[in-house]
């Protein structure tokens, strides 16, 4: 819309016509208090805190509902306005318990801030306050009724934002109260978004209530470890006996690809870190066949010795390496480099959850065809083929709902099952098994293919009318099934793609070349790219994939197997004892079924305890920062470097740290006034590749190499280090389409639910408690 000019507090401002005054002011740095207004939700105008004076208008106006227009003149602070706001506060405080000293929100409460600012310190009310006991609505959500200021943010967030509609408002006037859909409990997605938007401490979180105060925590922004959407999450950490403990997870500054959003897993799923089952000491199988705790030195020396023995006795290709979708890009890169250049093997793989090789193969040679999450969230039209975002990709579901609601985007859903997002869809078709293939043929002009698919013709016509489109494919699309819709899309201008996967760094594991036949960036094993020169001497015939490796190991065909963060025994149902002739080393946080079979188990740091980068389903690379700390564990990165070191490898060859003259760095001398907690100078140094990489254990030391050798990882470092995402460009790869399409995709689709992320969620007591709550409700409903 055209810009209009208006005056606020004597300043001339410009904004698109129709912008709400409150937003226009906030953009210009003029703070207008608001309780009920919440960006992105419908207007409520219930609290009257945002009142301002508009010239020529007899009464104070609510800035949250006033659209700006040319020539308007506003005053946002004056004695009259302060008095009005103070009166509002007095009313709100009329029955407010003022239990700030024990309230979770104390210190970050909007009511507290406003009372402080407008000084409603004395009350005209002398009546006794009405007390109500706190209610537990679910293991995740608690409600403290007297603290509620009836702003309705929670009701709108749950309904409009989440499309769950689990909260309502009952009664009226002074008896009005927020009510959960189950009468005395919540039957909902337990996302905690209602808690997050509550401006006061009326809705509190089961995992955080009465635990800490905001100023007692350090707030570390990192990435959620539970799914491949990669929400940015702020972990509130505090010193504990054995390191730093996580007390809270939220997205405090509402930045990043997820803005406000976190699902139940991201918000409540962090106590696996503290789980009693957590491994904190290396274990080595003793002569009696029992796993026995030992020191890191002994364990590393033992593994290194055995690896060397195997290498010299059996030579190249005698060992296998299985990586994970939960480890960082740096770790995955290092793992495959370690496998290829130190262990001299191409038997490398990971638990593939989506066919990114085909995805990349098809995008070669084109640019701007991969959709980042932000692009999806703003796309005018989206075609969702398969998948079940609401259950398996909560952030994607949120982004699609918001896009439809706020931008009037048109969502087209084709699925073989009923999915919740059909409610937001402009059109949807329900297909039978095998129907996708027909639908795509129909989209490409084969009229006959659409026969017998109800609604498909209209669906096709609507899609044909879309000028630009994002096509999102569920993980079930792989190989030829993925190629078909992508080829259709590539034949049209302005179509972008995304492929869904499972595992926080599933995309990164694939991008970093945890494949028996593909190098980082999907480059072939043989070639004359820089990576081939640098990896000179590695075997160049394709290795065995995940299943083949396990099979080979089971029949004595592999002498050593290094499993990092995967659980092939559980995933493939391998029988106990099957690998007794293979030297099995497992790096993991927990004693998984595979770890229980290992000769050596090395306890690792979880994603919340290390630094690095991860790449989500949509190719957005984000920084992971060490938040918690656990005595006894080490990041996989450090373990690999130590292993290589103990094997006599020059670690500088693996991790480029320091330089030829030894380590030199800016140790802070040049910082001057920039030094301090928010060390912007450090960000700048890091962004420009000038940060001191003094240690081979610094995972960021290898990021330079990734950027150098992996064509699609040309990262915007300044953004990355400042805590934003930086998007990869898949089309930049150097791969051969045909060779990618002819290989076996090896994808094993996983379908994690809303409270499920496999290993980690199983060991998260908060998520297990939520699950039990949900199961009880499901039983009661039957």
């Amino acid at each position: 819309m055209a810009d209009v000019t208006f005056i606020v507090d004597g300043k001339t401002l410009t904004a698109p016509a129709g912008t709400l005054l409150i937003d226009a002011c906030r953009k210009a740095g003029i703070e207008i208090p608001a309780f009920c207004y919440y960006p992105g939700l419908s207007l409520q105008a219930a609290c009257r805190m945002c009142v301002v004076r508009q010239e020529k208008v007899p009464k104070l106006q609510t800035a949250c509902t006033t659209p700006v227009a040319d020539g308007q003149v506003f005053i946002t602070e004056s004695p009259e306005i302060a008095q009005a706001r103070k009166a509002t506060l007095q009313l709100l405080l009329g029955n407010h318990p003022l239990d700030c000293p024990v309230c979770d929100a104390g210190g970050e409460c909007e009511l507290q801030d406003m009372t402080f600012k407008y000084g409603a310190g004395e009350s005209l009310y002398v009546e006794a306050k009405q007390h109500r006991e706190e209610q537990k609505w679910s293991p995740a959500v608690y409600f403290d009724r007297p603290r509620c200021i009836l702003c309705y943010r929670c009701v709108r967030m749950c309904g409009e934002g989440m499309d769950v509609w689990a909260l309502g408002i009952q009664n009226r006037g002074v008896t009005a109260v927020i009510a959960p859909n189950g009468g005395d409990h919540l039957d909902c997605e337990q996302c905690g978004m209602c808690i997050d938007v509550c401006p006061v401490g009326a809705l509190t979180s089961g995992t955080y209530r009465y635990k800490s105060r905001p100023w007692e925590m350090k707030h570390v922004s990192t990435v959620c470890t539970h799914c491949a959407d990669g929400c940015k999450v702020t972990l509130g950490v505090r010193r504990a006996n054995d390191g730093m403990e996580i007390v809270r997870a939220d997205n405090r500054d509402k930045s990043g690809i997820n803005g406000d959003f976190l699902c139940a897993k991201g918000r409540f799923g962090f106590d696996f870190v503290e789980s009693a089952e957590r491994l904190t000491q290396p274990l080595v199988r003793n002569s009696a066949g029992v796993l026995e705790p030992t020191t890191w030195e002994k364990a590393i020396r033992h593994v290194a010795k055995r690896f060397q023995e195997i290498l010299s006795a059996r030579g190249a290709g005698s060992m296998g390496v299985i990586g994970s979708t939960r480890t960082t890009n740096e770790e995955n890169y290092l793992l495959q480099k370690f496998a290829r250049t130190v262990l001299k093997t191409q038997h490398i793989d990971h638990e593939r959850t989506a066919d990114y090789a085909t995805f990349h193969g098809l995008l070669v040679g084109s640019t701007g065809r991969a959709a980042s999450l932000k692009e999806i969230a703003a796309a005018p039209a989206i075609l969702l083929l398969g998948g079940n975002p609401t259950e398996e990709h909560p952030l994607l579901a949120w982004s699609l709902r918001s896009d439809v609601r706020l931008n009037h985007a048109r969502l087209y859903v084709a699925n073989t099952q009923a999915i919740r997002l059909e409610r937001q869809a402009a059109q949807s078709v329900r297909l039978s098994d095998g129907g996708y293939e027909k639908l795509v043929r129909g989209l490409s002009g084969d009229e006959a293919a659409l026969a017998g698919l109800p609604g498909a013709a209209a669906f096709r016509d609507a899609l044909a009318g879309e000028e630009s489109l994002v096509v999102i494919c569920g993980a079930e699309f792989r190989g030829a099934a993925l190629a078909a819709p992508m080829r259709w899309g590539l034949s049209r201008p302005q179509v972008k793609f995304a492929l869904l996967s499972d595992g926080v760094n599933a995309r990164g594991a694939a991008d970093m070349g945890l494949y028996p036949d593909l190098m980082p960036g999907y480059q072939l094993l043989a070639g004359d790219r820089p990576i081939h020169t640098e990896y000179a001497g590695m075997p160049t015939t394709s290795g065995k994939d995940y299943a083949a490796m396990m099979e080979a190991a089971g029949s004595g065909g592999l002498d050593g197997l290094l499993v990092v963060g995967a659980d092939p025994f559980a995933a493939l149902g391998v029988a106990e004892g099957a690998l007794k002739d293979t030297f099995l080393v497992v790096q993991d946080c927990f004693l998984t079924r595979t770890a229980a079979q290992a000769d050596v188990v090395l306890p690792t740091a979880s994603l919340y305890e290390k630094t690095g980068t991860v790449t989500n389903s949509y190719g957005d690379v984000q920084m992971v920062r060490k938040a918690a700390d656990k005595a006894g564990v080490k990041p996989d990165f450090e373990i690999l470097v130590r292993l290589a070191g103990a094997m006599g490898v020059d670690v500088r060859m693996l991790v480029p740290f320091g330089d030829a003259q030894g380590a030199r760095a800016d140790m802070g001398q040049t910082r001057g006034a920039q030094a301090g907690e928010a060390d912007r100078h450090a960000v700048w140094l890091a962004a420009n590749g000038l940060e001191p990489k003094l240690s081979p254990f610094d995972p960021l030391a290898i990021l330079d190499e990734v950027e150098r050798l992996v064509p699609e990882y040309k990262l915007d470092r300044l953004n990355l280090f400042a805590g934003n995402e930086s998007t990869t460009e898949p089309g930049a790869g150097f791969v051969s389409v045909e060779s990618l399409l002819q290989r076996k995709d090896g994808v094993v689709a996983t379908h994690p639910g809303l409270f499920d992320s496999g290993l980690l969620s199983e060991r998260t007591s908060a998520l297990q408690e939520i699950r039990r709550h949900q199961e009880k409700l499901a039983v009661a409903a039957d």
Binding site: W165, G168, Q170, N171, R172, A179, P180, N181
Partner: protein, 168 residues
């Protein structure tokens, strides 16, 4: 699809509801009349009533409660067979509404929103019932009694008692 096969309402009311939801561009516009009619038939808005109405208009039971709880004339517990609503709003108050209300309280031995032990009467203090010209006024179920004096209270109660005994 709006025709409920397993209705808790009488066939007449059920048919009435089937028709009612077709009258408005949006089904949920029929919510308030449905709640009133259902209350008249069942006596109060039970969970079963709320669930069926929600189903009939395609909203959640929570949505129904959000609306229903706003209105003081809708109730969630059974009232007496005869629900005595005494107006104490301005006109009635000026002309002795509170005296009438007090007399009912005393005679029935119950207060505002109370129900007698035999379930015959319930009592409510209500806002203006639109009979100001003949204040003070009361309403018993859908019947009005106006220009009342305290003395008439006993007679009114007696009238309903005998009506009940008469089997009506």
């Amino acid at each position: 699809m709006s025709v409920e096969t397993m209705s808790i309402f009488s066939p007449e009311l059920s048919a009435r509801f089937d028709e009612l939801v077709t009258r408005y561009p949006m089904k949920r516009s029929a919510l308030i009349p449905m709640l009133l009619y259902a209350q008249d038939e069942v006596g109060y808005l039970s969970d079963a009533v709320i669930d069926e109405i929600a189903r009939r208009i395609g909203i959640t039971p929570l949505d129904v409660r959000n609306v229903a709880t706003y209105y003081s004339m809708l109730r969630f517990k059974p009232a007496g067979k005869f629900n005595v609503q005494v107006c104490t709003n301005i006109s009635c108050m000026l002309r002795g509404g509170y005296k009438i209300f007090d007399r009912f309280q005393e005679r029935l031995g119950i207060g505002h929103k109370g129900v007698t032990a035999d379930g015959l009467f319930s009592l409510e203090e209500v806002e203006c019932i639109g009979a100001c010209c003949w204040a003070p006024a009361i309403q018993v179920n859908y019947d009005f009694h106006d220009e009342l004096t305290e003395e008439q209270v006993d007679a009114i109660l007696e009238q309903y008692r005998s009506q009940n005994a008469g089997g009506r």
